[in-house]
Every structure is written in C-alpha cells, then in structure tokens.
C-alpha cells in the first residue's frame, strides 16, 4: 500500500513537471502524422514515415513532428486525431482512406488546426486532400512487364476493390498490352493492405498458374521474396524493395511524399496554407520508379523510362483511348482521355484483366 501511495505522489509531481515542459516546447510548429500500418511495413506507412523524417531534416528546430502508427480505421481514429489536434499540433496528416470521416469530424471541431487527408474526397476550409497518381508508375512498369513475360501471364496482388486499386491494375494491364497485346493480367484479392502471409500465398498461387512477372498493390515485401525464390520478376510497392529480391526485383513504384510534406509545412510557416486538392504523379516526383534491376535488358529498361518521361512531361496519359472493358466493348474512344472525375471512381476492369471486382 505504501509503495503505491508514494508512487502516486511521484506521478502527481511528475504530471506537473510534464505540463511545464510541454508549455516550453510550444514554439516550433507541431506537425502530426497518423499511419494505418506499422512504420516498419516497408511499404505505404514506411514511405509516409520517410516523408515525416524529411520534414524534420529540412526544417530542423522549426518543427516538431509526432506520429501515431497502426491506428485502426474505426472508432479509435477520431480519438487519436483529436488528441493530436488538442495537444497543439497545427498541421495533421491522416494517411489512410478510412480516416476520412473521423478527420472531417475533428476538422469541424478544430477550425484553427489544418488537416490533410490522403486518398479521400471530403474537403473543408481547414481540410485538404492529397493523393499520388500511382497509376502512372503502374503503367510504366507494366510496359517493362509486358516485354519481359514469356508466358504472357502477369500477376497482380490486389488489396481491396477500391477505385485506386482497380485503377492501378488497369494501368498496369494497359501498359503491358501496349507493347504485348497477348499479355493478360491475373488479379488476386487478398483483402488486406499488409498481410505478409496472405501476400506470399497469393504470389505462389499466381506463379503456380504460370505467371512470370508479379506486381502488387499490398505493402509487404513477401511477394518479392517469393518471386526471388522461384526466379520470376517482381515489381515492388511503395518503397524500393530491391534488398528483398536481388535477382527478381525489376523496379518498384515509389511513393515519395517528402516534397509534398515539406511544401505544405512551409506553407503553414509562411501563413499561406489553403485547403487544396492535390493529385500529383511523375511530374512532381510524388511517384517515381526505383532503379531497374541491373540484369534488365537495356532496351526494356529504356523503353519503360521513355514512357515515364512522356507521362512526366504530360505528353502521354496512361488512360488514353481506345480502351475496351473486359467484355470487349469499347468504353473510351480513340484519342480520348479518361477524365479525373471518372478515374476517381473507377470500378471496371479493362480488357486483358483476368479476374473480377467483388460487387
């Protein structure tokens, strides 16, 4: 009993001290980040964490950043976001779609705090949105995959049937078929953003069907590792995963949030932050291709890099017609470009995709 009471006193004292140090540290701009996964996933959350570290490095003492990882997309998210808002964070990035409604609710309660939500569609005067055109990277990597496949069977490990993922699989397929009309893409849904076990199983199932290039829209390096063992090509997700597959890692579609995060923090420091809707890609280096595997044939590599440059310079758009859907019906006429508003809610597969969207 005695021990407990004394500890209680100590705690109360410490609370006082703790409060004091917080008040002193209120000077730098406090920036908060909420991640859906663990920062060690080597994929999506890892890349956001790299962005946060870039902010710290760039601004030094002028900012103080905080992150909360592995936040479930449910009732808990709102509390975490609100805790960040009420503890002096002036700019808060919530990095997963499931945080949209909680972010919007907290944004309403904290009009002076600036919020940025990745991949969503709700905006407010103090709530901006941002997203990357990952599909540009998927198209360019698809070009290389279409050239490299011998079986004409490509595999695509997909997470959830949301527009972003459907768009990515379509872009990959369009890229592959632009150079190899016989290529087909087999899509496997694993219903998770991060589940190394399931992702590996999906990779093995695809390889058993004769797939010889595997792309993924899930965050672990397990598919790359599985491909390395079987000696087939794999395309990494979110970060450069080449250390997981020295022979098999063809390239990766890198999400690079550093530039965006630094720009947004700078805007707050300058008092120029406004609620915006950002959707950048190759052009702003928000999406990049990782260096190609040294054993990639030079012609294949140069062709993919050429496509990357074309997209980067806005000379080519991956979703340029003619585009047919799975039933062979022409959905986009020759020369037409699918507008962003349709890309944002895409829920149909293009011709060449084997698999269906759960409905």
């Amino acid at each position: 009993m005695k021990i407990t009471r004394r500890a209680g006193l100590g705690l109360a004292l410490a609370m006082g001290l703790f409060g004091a140090t917080q008040a002193l540290a209120a000077e730098p701009l406090k920036v908060g980040f909420v991640y859906v996964g663990p920062i060690g996933d080597h994929g999506y959350s890892y890349q956001h964490e790299q962005g946060r570290l870039a902010v710290e490095k760039h601004f030094g003492d002028k900012v103080k950043t905080t992150y909360v990882e592995n936040v479930p997309e449910g009732a808990d998210a709102e509390r975490v976001i609100r805790q960040l808002a009420s503890s002096g964070h002036e700019l808060i990035f919530t990095t997963s779609f499931g945080f949209m409604n909680p972010t919007a609710k907290v944004a309403k309660q904290f009009p002076k705090v600036k919020f940025e939500h990745a991949t969503g569609y709700m905006r407010a005067p103090n709530l901006a949105t941002y997203m990357a055109r990952f599909y540009e990277g998927r198209y360019a990597s698809g070009v290389a995959a279409g050239r490299l496949t011998k079986s004409n069977k490509l595999g695509y490990i997909a997470s959830f049937p949301i527009p972003e993922v459907v768009r990515g699989a379509n872009a990959f397929t369009l890229g592959a078929r632009s150079v190899n009309p016989k290529a087909e893409v087999r899509v496997v849904w694993v219903n998770s953003w991060y589940d190394p076990g399931k992702e590996r199983e999906a990779a093995e199932a695809l390889m058993a069907q004769g797939v010889d290039v595997i792309a993924q829209h899930t965050d672990s390096a397990a598919p790359v590792q599985a491909a390395e063992e079987k000696g087939v090509w794999a395309i990494g997700q979110a970060s450069d995963m080449s250390r997981f597959g020295a022979k098999s890692h063809l390239t990766a579609i890198i999400d690079d949030w550093s530039g965006y995060y630094i720009a947004r923090v700078q805007a707050v420091l300058d008092g120029k932050w406004t609620s915006t809707d950002t959707w950048d890609g190759f052009d702003k280096d928000m999406v990049r291709l990782a260096p190609f595997n040294p054993s990639t044939p030079a012609a294949v590599r140069d062709e993919a890099l050429g496509v990357e440059r074309q997209i980067k310079e806005h000379k080519f758009h991956p979703f340029t017609g003619p585009i047919k859907d799975q039933s062979g019906k022409e959905v986009v006429a020759a020369g037409q470009i699918v507008p962003d508003s349709d890309l944002l809610k895409m829920n149909w597969f293009v011709e060449g995709v084997v698999g269906s969207i759960p409905k």
Partner: protein
C-alpha cells in the same frame, strides 16, 4: 528456496492486495523499461496512466472505449464459468453490426423514436444468430466450439467486407467501401454535448447486473456453475449441458452484437470494413482479468481501455514507439495474472529437501 503452497481457502486479503501489488510491480518495471529506453520514467508513466484522463473529453472517451469490452466480457464470462469457450465474440460483434447496419439502411428514409431500438435489437439478434451456429454444431455434432466460433470470425469479417464493397456501398461514396452515414434517428443519443460518449455506456453496468443475477440468483446460473466445475455432476443431477451451451453462446453473441450495433450507431455512424479494433478478442482478456466476476470485469475493461489510450498518449506526447507501449501493456497483464497466484497459494521460504540434512 521459494516454495508455493496451496492455501486451504482462497485468501480474501490477497483478493484485494494482489491487484495493488501488480500495479506497484508494473509501475516499477515500467519505469525501468522507459528509463532503459531513454524516457524519463515518471513523466512517461504519468503520460500513460494519467494524461488520457486529464479532461472531460478524455474521461468520456475512456468510458466509450471500455463499454463494448465490459458488455462483451460480462456475457462471455457466463460461458467461461460453464466450460463453454466462445472465442467468436469478434465475429458476433461484426454480425450484430451487419444486422444493425442493414436495419438502419433499410429505415434510411424513416424517422421516429422506435428506429434506434429496432436497430439495436437487430444487432442483438444478429449476434445471437451468429453464435447459434457454433451452439448448434456443438450440440448436434459435438464440434468443438473454440474452433467453430473462432473460424466464424473470419467469415464475418469477409461478409462485412463484401457488403460494404458491394451491395451496401454508399451511392455518394465514389465507390469507396462504406455505407451511407446513418440518419439521426438511427444514431445513439449523446450523453455529453460535443463528446462521443452515448447512452449506450449505461448498458455496461446493466449487462453486468443481469449477468450477476443470472449467475447467482437463477437455476440456470446454478446449472452453469455445476457444469463448469464437473460436467458429469450435471447429468447426475438430471440436467444436460445443452441448455447451458445454447444459452451462454447466444447470450454472449447477443451482447457482442449489441456492442457492435452501438459502435456503428455511436462513434462510427456508418458501416465500414473495420468496425472493431478487436474488442471481441480483448474482451476475453477482460473477462479473465476480472476473474469472471461482473464487478471485476467492469474494472478490468476500464483498465484495458486506459492502457490503449495511454499507448496513444505515450506515442503522441513522448514519441514512445508503439512496440514499447505494447510491451508495457503486456507487462500490466502479466503482473496482474501473476499476482493472482497469491490468492490461492502462499509463498514459503524453505530449504530444498536435499539440503536439509
């Protein structure tokens, strides 16, 4: 040598002292852990245990988080007392959320005071129906309910995912996996303006009382206890286990379903692919931490809820990595369960047999 000796009777003093000892041990070991990682121990502990409750918002969030844990754990405890191992509360919670969410969507255009009770009732029925599957399999085919109830959790997760990705998807949601936001008629009334705490928190003590009455004041409770202690004794006394199996599984399922219904009509406000951060699993810990007694479970649910909020607070205020807060949460549970040994055993200092001569 330290030796454990079985007490003739469980110690009443230790029932109360053991948790305090555990807390003291946690504070000490936690302090060492934080110090070893370069965080000042006292502020770290204060952040963990006190800062989440520093204001009204924190307290309301604490109760909000503890509510589903307490409701589910109180109901599960009845089954655990009677040797019925329902590990499927997570799936039953989701099934309840699906039934409640479907009802709320069906009544989307309707307003009225009866809408919310209907929605909640649907949740209870949905959860109970989901739990009826392992009950039936156990009674009819002697299938182990640990496995069947556990595996149905994954089925429920996928069923919910299919519904929100497909037929129940919001028409205004850009094809993202979510239903429409429920209308006010289907939302839990708030207890405090501007906070998320809703009237559902009152169900926690209510379910605890109901569970207590059933267990200590009803013939059914007597049957549960007898079968829990010696399954054979029940059949000698003339009652088989089937009634206990069916009741405890479906009561647990119904209450998990209620918790699920209250999550989606409370803090979430719509059906989304993830409606629970694992309350159905954590409730099992809460049940045992509370020694399967309703009062103990209420306290255990509060403690567990606090450790989760403390984990968030430590990440936000101090930058303590999530893994460290999880180790710390594990330590709390470890010490609490370890200290329980003192209730039934006493520690004796004695020489080992070989050294006695």
């Amino acid at each position: 040598m330290l030796r454990l000796e079985l007490r003739p009777q469980a110690s009443r003093t230790m029932t109360f002292v053991a948790p305090l000892l555990a807390i003291a041990a946690t504070v000490a070991a936690g302090g060492v852990l934080f110090a070893a990682l370069g965080f000042a121990p006292l502020p770290a502990l204060a952040t963990f245990f006190l800062s989440p409750l520093g204001d009204l918002y924190g307290v309301t969030e604490w109760l909000l988080k503890a509510t589903p844990l307490a409701i589910i754990a109180c109901a599960l405890a009845l089954g655990f007392r009677g040797n019925v191992w329902n590990i499927g509360a997570e799936g039953q919670l989701i099934a309840g959320a699906i039934a409640a969410g479907g009802t709320a969507l069906a009544l989307y255009e309707v307003s009225g005071l009866w809408v919310l009770p209907t929605v909640l009732l649907a949740g209870v029925v949905g959860g109970a129906a989901w739990a009826a599957i392992p009950a039936l399999l156990r009674i009819r085919f002697h299938a182990n309910e640990i496995l069947t109830s556990l595996m149905l959790n994954y089925v429920a997760v996928l069923l919910l995912a299919w519904l929100v990705h497909g037929p129940w998807r919001s028409p205004e949601g850009y094809n993202f996996p979510e239903t429409r936001m429920f209308t006010d008629s289907a939302l839990m009334p708030l207890l405090v303006e501007g906070m998320r705490l809703h009237v559902g928190v009152l169900f926690a003590p209510l379910v605890a009382v109901v569970a207590w009455v059933i267990l200590s004041r009803s013939f059914l409770g007597f049957q549960i206890k007898v079968i829990g202690m010696t399954p054979a004794a029940g059949s000698y006394a003339g009652f088989g286990p089937n009634r206990v199996i069916a009741f405890t599984l479906m009561f647990g399922g119904g209450m998990a379903g209620l918790a699920g219904a209250m999550e989606i009509t409370g803090p979430i406000g719509q059906l989304v692919p993830t409606v629970s951060p694992g309350y159905g699993y954590t409730a099992i810990i809460a049940a045992f931490l509370g020694r399967l007694h309703p009062i103990g479970i209420l306290l255990a649910a509060l403690l567990l809820a606090l450790t989760y909020m403390g984990g968030d607070a430590a990440q936000i205020a101090l930058g303590v990595p999530l893994a460290v807060t999880q180790v710390f949460q594990g330590m709390i549970l470890f010490f609490l369960l370890a200290a329980d040994v003192l209730i039934r055993y006493r520690v004796r200092l004695s020489l080992p047999h070989g050294a006695r001569r």
